[in-house]
């Protein structure tokens, strides 16, 4: 009889219950005694451990003006029962809506900033105020700050609970300075930009030096200041080999001694020769207004690239040079 009822149990109670039924089957002495009226029932109240009923989520008990930072004091994963917002996330099935927050893995995966609401940040600021000094009253605008303190240093400090208070990331020092606040002439500025390469941003005119090669923050700061000093002084010096610069290296197009100048002088000399006007010298030619105009047009074409305006200017100047109507 026990054997006959066993398969019925196995079908009706999958999973753990089946295991339990199997274990009871292994000890047949227990079963036959308790069999009879109890086997018809689905579950046996003595065997099932007592289970609490699921409580209502905490959100139902939250007041509107509650203290939110105490709900999320630190960075914590998203708890759908603790966040009173009816938020939905996920890709909807056809003719459906995104999934609700209960049991939503997508909401768990993403970082949330529920611990950093403006109220919480205000509280942090209030707490930190005791450790801060007053902002100087004279520095009330950005320009004044830049004028008096052109160099900006960025450092980061890290606090964590753990066996050691040291954090290797804390040694990084970033130095930012605007080149307009440094005393550089044309050559020095170009040389400095070439020396630093990627660290200079053209749009904001900011040189950024990031150092982390020394073990201590203080050492990195000293190294960054040293780098800035060396760059400044080196860019003011002019070496002998700098005058061998080729056209490919130059950042801007310079007209004097370029092939364009040679071409135009040759052309004009030939024209003059054809008109039997051999007394004109190179310097005279270079000084004429048309050549000045032509020079400006070529320089603008090369530096700014082609555009309707530059090309038409160039055309006009060439026409005037070559005496075309």
């Amino acid at each position: 009889m026990a054997a006959a009822s066993l398969p019925a149990w196995l079908c009706l109670q999958p999973g753990a219950r089946a295991l339990r039924a199997f274990s009871t089957a292994v000890s047949p002495t227990t079963l036959p005694g308790k069999a009879g009226p109890r086997t018809t029932e689905r579950t046996s109240r003595l065997e099932r451990p007592s289970r609490r009923k699921a409580l209502p989520p905490r959100t139902e008990k939250m007041a509107v003006d509650q203290d939110w930072p105490s709900v999320y004091p630190v960075a914590a994963p998203f708890k759908p029962s603790a966040v009173p917002l009816p938020v939905r996330m996920g890709y909807p099935v056809k003719m459906g809506v995104p999934m609700a927050k209960e049991g939503n893995l997508e909401l768990l995966k993403i970082p949330n900033f529920l611990h950093l609401t403006p109220v919480a940040i205000k509280k942090h600021c209030e707490a930190l105020k005791d450790f801060c000094t007053e902002w100087p009253a004279a520095l009330d605008s950005d320009e004044k700050c830049e004028k008096h303190f052109p160099i900006e240093i960025d450092t980061a400090d890290y606090v964590s609970a753990g066996p050691s208070i040291r954090n290797p990331k804390a040694r990084v020092v970033t130095l930012r300075v605007k080149l307009s606040s440094l005393n550089l002439d044309d050559h020095a500025k170009k040389k400095l930009i070439k020396l630093v390469g990627e660290r200079y941003c053209k749009t904001t005119d900011v040189l950024t030096i990031k150092t982390d090669r020394c073990p201590l923050k203080r050492q990195n700061y000293d190294y960054a200041m040293y780098l800035l000093t060396v760059l400044y002084h080196e860019s003011w010096k002019t070496e002998d080999w700098e005058k061998n610069i080729t056209e490919a290296d130059m950042q801007e197009y310079i007209w004097t001694n370029s092939s364009s100048e040679k071409n135009i002088l040759e052309t004009l000399l030939q024209i003059k020769a054809a008109e039997k006007n051999l007394e004109v010298t190179k310097e005279e030619l270079l000084g004429t207004k048309e050549i000045e105009d032509y020079k400006k047009c070529v320089v603008s074409l090369k530096n700014e690239g082609d555009s309707e305006y530059t090309l038409s200017q160039y055309k006009e100047s060439v026409k005037r040079l070559l005496n075309l109507t």
């Binding site: 024209i271 008109e275 082609d306 160039y314 070559l322 075309l324």
Partner: protein
């Protein structure tokens, strides 16, 4: 008119006796065509002009088509016309070019050139399909009519890509010869400038190899013949031709027009490789080297008209159309100073004229093509771009 129709009908009947239906329908269609010809006389005046001499083209002819006699086309443009235009010419059985502003401007400059001054370079540039090559053809026709010697390289890009048989040059070991391209070009050059070839005498002795040489004083025609027959020496023959022409045009015997289409190929990159797969620079090709010397302005007695072209160019992006982008730094420095002339899309008047021309030649068969909306639609779809318009109208 009835007699004419009757004779035509009888001729048709003789041609295909089995097709009685065609015979009966033929007179109707012929009559219709004759009628159409009569009615189309007046619209022809809108899009075409009778002034067939480019020298007399003025601003009042702007936007109108003029007829190039087919005989001229065969001599002046053996290789110069763009392929789609050549197809159109064959279909319509006539060659009509539109007179446009850039060409008029260039004609004005050319008419006022001072042949004692060094040759001025004019560069036609513009977006794809705006008509640079056909403007160049207009200028060439003008110069041919004025009896200039035409040195026309239809597409310089053909000389820097897809060339088989590269030989090491006999003249200069570092350079490479392209016998096929050179011989083809020499043949076409001969067709264009037949009458000059016997008049011009070379002024130096050139030695081809141990057994053959050309004496001083023989005509240029012999050099060209030698190049065409002996394909191995074709590139050197081209070099000699260019050198002699440059030297002698300064003397004033003839006027020289150097017309190169796709001149940005001279300073770009090539797709040709040596046997060890290393790339060849353009200056290592003898043809390109000589052509570069030709477009320098150290000679006088003529003019140099050049076109930039992105179609067919190598390693240049699709939307590059401005001089510096296509020529690069080297090209710009070599051509400086030049006069850049922009070729733009059709103006409304030119667009109207073009549509009229197509309609007269019964090219636009779509019923809506004649209406104002149809024309507006075509204008919108092609944005006034001549090449695009031609391609669109091919479907209608």
């Amino acid at each position: 008119m009835l007699k004419g129709v009757a004779s035509l009908v009888s001729r048709v009947r003789k041609l295909d006796p089995g097709h009685l239906r065609l015979g009966t329908q033929a007179p109707q269609s012929l009559a219709a065509q004759l009628d159409n010809q009569v009615s189309f006389e007046s619209p022809r005046a809108i899009s075409c002009t009778n002034e067939n001499d480019p020298a007399k083209h003025e601003e009042k002819h702007e936007g109108l088509h003029y007829n190039l006699p087919l005989q001229d086309v065969k001599t002046v443009f053996p290789h110069g016309l763009p392929p789609r235009y050549a197809m159109q010419m064959k279909t319509f059985n006539e060659a009509c070019l539109m007179v446009r502003k850039p060409a008029l401007e260039l004609l004005h400059y050319l008419k006022n050139t001072n042949f004692a001054h060094p040759a001025i370079r004019y560069v036609l540039y513009g977006e794809k399909g705006t008509g640079k090559t056909l403007s160049l053809c207009h200028i060439i026709h003008f110069c041919a009519k004025q009896d200039w010697l035409i040195l026309h390289i239809p597409d310089a890009h053909l000389w820097v890509k897809n060339c088989r048989d590269l030989l090491q040059s006999t003249y200069n070991k570092q350079r490479f010869d392209q016998p096929l391209e050179a011989s083809v070009w020499l043949k076409n050059f001969k067709t264009t400038n037949e009458r000059f070839l016997s008049q011009i005498k070379i002024q130096e002795k050139y030695v081809w190899n141990k057994r053959e040489s050309i004496e001083k004083g023989s005509s240029l025609g012999e050099v060209v013949e030698q190049g065409i027959t002996r394909v191995r020496n074709a590139t050197d023959a081209v070099g000699i031709v260019l050198k002699e022409l440059k030297r002698q045009s300064s003397l004033g015997i003839f006027r020289l027009l150097v017309a190169v289409d796709g001149v940005n190929a001279l300073w770009g990159r090539t797709t040709l490789k040596r046997e060890d797969k290393s790339p060849i620079a353009p200056e290592e090709l003898a043809l390109i080297h000589n052509l570069r010397k030709m477009v320098r302005n150290d000679w006088n007695g003529g003019a140099i008209v050049l076109t930039l072209s992105q179609t067919g160019s190598l390693f240049k992006p699709r939307n590059a159309c401005l001089p510096q982008e296509l020529l690069g730094k080297e090209g710009f420095d070599a051509l400086d100073p030049f006069i850049p002339i922009q070729v733009a899309n059709y103006s409304p008047k030119e667009f109207e004229s073009c549509i009229q021309y197509y309609m007269e030649n019964s090219w636009l068969q779509h019923e809506k093509a004649h209406t104002e909306e149809g024309k507006k639609e075509l204008l919108f779809l092609s944005n006034g771009n001549p090449g695009q318009l031609e391609r669109l109208c091919a479907y209608l």
